[in-house]
């Protein structure tokens, strides 16, 4: 992990409130594992609001051209600032952060399930899995057509996927966790990797309770101050036998956790 300044090569609108930021950084491209993230400064130098950096997963890595990208949704003032960044400017960020994703040698089949912007880190994980010869099935769910263009990126990675939208505006109308519930028997020997809103993760945890022995990773999000394990701000509750829990830091103990051990309050 380093404090870096990377040249912005593009900041493209991808859909309603959705952007892809491309940054030149040999260091990130060489050292980043899928699932890791960077912490971006969202203010010009000297401006003190917003004060804290914002965490974003790495979406793509192009080792040939030393370019990585971040796919992000405009939510508040930090991402609003990012949306105004232009080609040629510099991005001030720290990375790579968190423990990255490593494919399990023993497991051949992976089911990736993303809700909303949760598909961002999963896309890079999917790519990695494909490259290591795994069999993957990608399930994605969105509210609407904001992520329409993402399918173009996905098909380059995975042939086996299903997209749901709540309003049916693209893909199938519906939500992926309902599909999962109905079809989980087909994926009993898959490892799951999920990322999305807390409610979705909680739902899936519930569904998987009926399949003891299933292995599922979840990429968690929590508000962060430092992103490097110092402030103790980003903790979540992780089960600790018997019946207890311990606090784990999303930024350095995660962001990937065993879904079945996460305690949602």
């Amino acid at each position: 992990m380093k404090l870096l300044n990377g040249e912005i090569l593009a900041n493209k609108k991808y859909g309603e409130n959705l952007y892809k930021l491309e940054v030149f950084s040999p260091y990130i491209c060489r050292n980043c594992l899928p699932g890791q993230f960077i912490n971006i400064k969202c203010a010009y130098e000297g401006m003190l609001d917003p004060l804290l950096r914002r965490p974003f997963s790495i979406y793509e890595i192009d080792k040939k051209f030393n370019v990585f990208s971040v796919l992000y949704m405009v939510k508040g003032k930090g991402t609003d600032f990012m949306a105004r960044l232009v080609k040629g400017g510099m991005l001030d960020f720290i990375g790579p952060l968190g423990i990255g994703f490593k494919a399990d040698e023993e497991i051949k089949n992976y089911l990736l399930l993303g809700g909303g912007i949760g598909i961002a880190p999963l896309s890079l994980i999917a790519k990695e899995l494909m490259e290591t010869g795994k069999n993957i099935f990608f399930l994605a769910g969105f509210k609407d057509e904001a992520f329409f263009l993402w399918e173009r990126d996905l098909i380059k990675i995975a042939r086996n996927y299903k997209i749901f939208t709540e309003n049916g505006s693209f893909g199938q109308k519906g939500i992926p966790s309902v599909y999962l519930k109905e079809n989980m028997h087909l994926y009993k020997n898959y490892k799951l990797v999920v990322c999305g809103p807390k409610e979705m993760l909680k739902n899936i945890q519930g569904i998987l309770r009926d399949f003891p022995g299933i292995v599922a990773d979840a990429l968690m999000e929590e508000r962060m101050a430092c992103g490097i394990g110092v402030c103790m701000g980003c903790i979540i509750k992780i089960k600790k036998s018997p019946g207890g829990f311990e606090y784990k830091k999303v930024c350095t103990d995660g962001p990937i956790f065993n879904l079945m051990e996460v305690i949602f309050d």
Partner: protein, 310 residues
Amino acid sequence: MTDKNTYETDLSVKFGKISLKNPVISCSGTFAGGLQYSRFFDISKLGAVTTKSFSLKKKDGNPSPRIWETASGMLNSIGLQNEGIDFFISTQLEEIRNLGAEIILSIFGESAEEFKKIALKIKPVLKHLKAIELNYSCPNVKAGGMAFCGVPENIRTITSEIKSIIDIPLIAKLSPNFGPVTECAIQAKKGGADAVSVINTVTGTAFDIDTYKPRLANIVGGLSGPAIKPAALLQVYQLAKGKIIPIIGMGGIYSWQDAVEFLIAGAAAVGIGTVNFSQPDAGEKIIAGISEYLISKNINSINDIIGKAL
């Protein structure tokens, strides 16, 4: 970046029985033991590293969410999550020493008793420490914490009891949440403290207007960062005017200019906290900035600017 061996000006400071190679100290709870930050710069360049506050036993701290960003600041309600003083002694102390940094150990007790027990535990390692900071001012715990500052005599009693157990410079860390810190500083002095750290965080809160829930599970949190700088600076200035006790000034320092502002307002040294989250190399940059400032003004020693605005 200026290299640590090429400063052309004398940055060393001495206050009470504490001598530091320069006045820039990391604030408790914002730098852990420095290990992470050593990835960004050589933390031995700092005047000292102040550890997270350690309690007698491991503390889990408060439930999540624990942080919320505010205008030019942040609220935290960590609640002193820490691994306990034994962890410091057995593990972290060695880690920081290996990095070559001077150490100020911050400790926290819910009661005078707990403070004393911790003091007993650290007796064997005192030689490795520059000073002990007594955290009398955490806003995020049920017992002890900033409540000590609500009854300033507590500060005298506990400080002097600790002093009778361990012979090492003591720093009392004070809370701004009861108005001016003057009375607490007087009591710290009476109790035998060598310096005071001013200020710990300012209490505050925030709510979610959609769920009506507090943004922090603990409801109350401590505000830090640039937002509190004017208030912190005034506390330092007013205390320095009274010439009661040396002051480590902190609260909202973001740049070397801010650090200099605290020094001219009378701080003998400065603490940098929240800025580390935003700019992990802040410590190095602030030291270099102060040094270049002095050089540009032809000032040979940092001591010539301390209290200049008084």
